[in-house]
Amino acid sequence: MTEIALGFATLLHPTVLGFLLIGIVAGLIVGAIPGLNDNIAFAIFIPLSFSLSPTYAFALMVGLYCSAAVGGSIPAIMVKVPGTASAVLTAIDGHAMARNGFAGRALGIAITSSVFGGFSSALILLFFAPPMAAFALRFGYVENFSLGILGMASVIGLLGGSIIKGLLSAVLGLLVATIGFSLQTGYPRYTFGIDNLYEGVPFVPLLVGLFGITAVLELSEELIRDRRKGVASPDMPRITDSLFIGWPLAKRLLPTWLQCSLLGNVIGVIPGAGMLMAIYMGYERISHRYQRLFAGKPGEPEWGQGAPEGIAAPESANNAVVASSMVPLLSLGIPGNSVSALFIGAMMIQGMVPGPLLFIDHADIAWMIIVAFLVANVLMWPIAYALVRTISGMVFRLPKYVLVPTISLLCLTGAYSDENSVFSIGVAIASGIVGYATRRLGIPHAPLILALVLGRTIEDNLSNALNIGGGNWLIFLDPAEHPISVALMAGAALFIVGPLLSGARRRFQAQRRAAELELENG
């Protein structure tokens, strides 16, 4: 209780609370602009966070992270263009409901569901992160290395798609992380005689490039494509009905909120699983429930044609991922998704090491972040209700052709401000090109980012663990001395082998089906 009180005492300073409010409003706006998301906003903000006190910087980031997903549902409902990827399923039933003249009701369901999911995940963060961190304090070099491997394996395994590409991405990130002086010997590696690389590739410009510049390049491609196709901006339905959902509807949606929030929280805690997995699983599960209980009844639309559950399921699931994705970051130092990887960047700028020691070295900040997720979700409800009409009108007046160069200039100036050097701009542009190219080649970004974040720690832990074990690699699989490491390594193997086996089974079944068809056709 003392720690929670410490968190509240830090957060309830008027300026800190002010930054949390700014973050909530900024997140709603950023999320509502199609093409922009919390990653880009963080990429712009991280270099600036250096000149802010850590409490202000993290309050703003928490506010922004919590509300961006809600913002993303506004254009999804109004014009069927999801503001963020996590609102892609909200667009189906949400827009159908808006077209039927109930735009206000659809937005109200989205906001309330998001707040429910977000608040539940803040509770998970409050009750799970500190005990996990206390447990992780027992970890030594061997366990920490295995933990890093587990984090990377879970990201690669849960991404879906090609395991080879996932591994390529992770290995590339680990290799880039070796640039600079060796932590053990001080020998400069892959520096090509460039002074700026002796301490490694500058981290902030690297993140700015991978998130901000990559997004800008994708936006500019989209602009040119739209211009060539002559795509006109879609017409927007008007909000004529009330935003408030009554008690009968809230009572009806309660089971959906509970199921999807639980699902989102479980998925959020696993590094790499992410919001998309949560919304698809939640949407699929609730669709069966809807077909069973409501479909075909008088006044009830078909699934996908404006069903309230079709909005509530993805919105509660995506916001339930938000705070729970901070559990592995705050307790173990492993980012749960790309946004929490950016949190690590901000923490490093402020001279903090995310992980169990954060609760000892910077207890006030760690508890403030946890409490801020709770408060942000409570504040987000009235703020979103008050601003949704204004924001939905405003975002469609912002010309994208001005937005793209503005984001570029903000990102590159932010990269420059890291070390006041043009070299940092070069790093941001180069990593932006790499990010854009890898995305076009279908190589996932999440393992690359995680490897960049964890690379040095993994090498350091590996080297120290091997020193302790006299060079014996089996130290990581020694059940007598390091049972936690064995469990973590077994988990990592499951994450990699599981998708490979299921892929092989799918291929075998497809071949068998093809052979059966051939036999039937003679």
Partner: protein, 155 residues
């Protein structure tokens, strides 16, 4: 080869070459610092080759490479990168921040906007350049490389 197969083939080859080069370089480091990067570089090479093999084993399907797509990449992201590289060079050459930033933004706005309204675009570009400068230089006290007379004017 399917178009995706072609992309995988070439990207796999690039990664394999990158891994090979990194491996050779790592073997030149002192012995205590070389094992880890050399192992990673070898893994990169191996994974690149695995991607190549996987691409070659895919069933063949004739599909033309999208020329329109290449043009879009060239005139969208390609041009964007070119303009900002040029801007970085002007910063490095000591030509100040606001002027080159204004020109870069103006060029990109004119390029991306379908209907040209020069006065509006000049105002938009000036607003963006001065606004970003103000955020970093005046609010966050980042010492941006500005020309002497503008710096004097601000101070």
């Amino acid at each position: 080869m399917h178009v995706v197969g072609i992309i995988d083939f070439w990207s796999g080859l690039v990664f394999a070459c990158l891994g090979a080069a990194a491996c050779v370089m790592a073997l030149g480091f002192d012995s205590d610092s070389s094992t880890y990067p050399a192992a990673l570089a070898a893994a990169l090479m191996g994974l690149g080759l695995a991607l190549v093999v996987k691409a070659v084993r895919r069933p063949a399907a004739a599909k033309a490479v999208d020329a329109e797509g290449s043009r879009i990449i060239l005139w969208g992201p390609g041009l964007e990168v070119g303009v900002w590289c040029l801007w970085a060079l002007t910063l490095w050459a000591g030509l100040g921040y606001i002027g080159p930033a204004f020109l870069a933004v103006l060029f990109l706005i004119m390029r991306h906007c379908a209907d040209r309204r020069t006065r509006l675009h000049v105002a938009q570009a000036a607003g963006v350049a001065i606004g970003v400068f103000a955020i970093f230089y005046l609010i966050f006290q980042v010492p941006l490389p500005e020309l002497e007379f503008i710096r004097d004017m601000l101070e």
